[in-house]
């Protein structure tokens, strides 16, 4: 069970949160100009790196805010958590 530091509420246990996948994730549009490939890329393709990944989490049982977590997929080490309105942290490797 991870302990995640919500930028609003401080450290809380994982069950209070919901994972929301890698960021940045740019939604292509308008739909009539998006190729099948680009749309499939948006829906299905993720980097899934071994190492640090930037992803968004929701503090569902707390402040209900989405925020960014920089987490190692190997060790679960969390390097940083920032608000969505902050600049996205640099990608780490």
């Amino acid at each position: 069970m991870l302990q995640i530091t919500c930028p609003c509420c401080g450290p809380r246990d994982e069950p209070e949160f919901r994972w929301g996948g890698e960021v940045p994730l740019v939604r292509p549009g308008p739909p009539e100009q998006v190729s099948d490939e680009a749309w499939a890329e948006y829906l299905f393709t993720r980097d899934n790196p071994k190492g640090f990944v930037r992803e968004r989490w929701l503090h569902a049982l707390g402040c209900r805010q989405w925020f960014v977590v920089v987490r190692s997929t190997v060790t679960h080490e969390i390097r940083a958590t920032t608000r969505l309105t902050d600049t996205l942290p640099e990608a780490l490797t």
């Binding site: 609003c8 509420c9 401080g10 809380r12 209070e16 707390g62 402040c63 209900r64 805010q65």
Partner: protein
């Protein structure tokens, strides 16, 4: 006119709002409260409206500001819960709505949506921490603190109203009130409560 029932009404018998009374832990439904959910991106306008009608300041994250019979709980960066005597909620809602008319705001009566149970006694933290991951000891969850979290597998707002006597208020959705009562009573080690009829 129709008869109104408070959210915990189906759970009590004979008007007794206390459902656990042990020497080191007591549990009571709080009655006579009304709740207004306040949402607005215009913090300063909301602050002005609150100041003129309740004298309350917007609280810092995870805290409560209180004044007289009013308490204002921080819920999210754009959301607060105003607790006030039930008799005043309708007029307060109207007054706040009026004053906030020019900017985007929602002042929503949640009095019927929320049930509030107060735990008091020395065993408060022990009972709650059997179903909550927050550190609820008096020194780490001091008076004036409020946090939205999970308790007994349901969402809950926990609020420490005062330094003395030791108490924690649990605010939950009314649909979960029965679960909360059964769970808390069981956690206190006082099983065998009669089912609500």
């Amino acid at each position: 006119m129709l008869e109104h029932q408070q959210p915990f009404a189906p759970l009590i018998q004979g008007g007794d709002t206390t459902f656990v009374a042990m020497s080191d832990i007591q549990m009571t439904w709080l009655s006579g409260w009304g709740f207004l959910l306040l949402q607005s991106p215009s913090e300063s306008a909301l602050q002005d409206a609150l100041m003129s009608h309740t004298g309350l300041r917007l609280p810092a994250p995870q805290t409560v500001s209180t004044r007289g019979d009013y308490a204002l709980l921080w819920l999210t960066p754009k959301e607060w819960l105003l607790a006030a005597p039930a008799s005043e909620t309708e007029s307060l809602q109207a007054a706040l709505t009026r004053q906030m008319a020019t900017c985007l705001a929602a002042v929503i009566d949640m009095s019927d949506a929320l049930a509030v149970c107060e735990l008091s006694g020395t065993r408060c933290a022990d009972v709650l921490m059997s179903g909550c991951t927050l550190d609820l000891h008096a020194d780490t969850f001091p008076s004036g603190r409020c946090s939205r979290t999970g308790l007994a597998d349901i969402p809950a707002i926990l609020w420490n109203p005062a330094r003395e006597p030791r108490a924690v208020r649990c605010i939950v959705d009314r649909s979960h009130a029965r679960h909360l009562r059964d769970w808390l009573a069981d956690a206190a080690g006082c099983p065998g409560l009669p089912p609500a009829q």
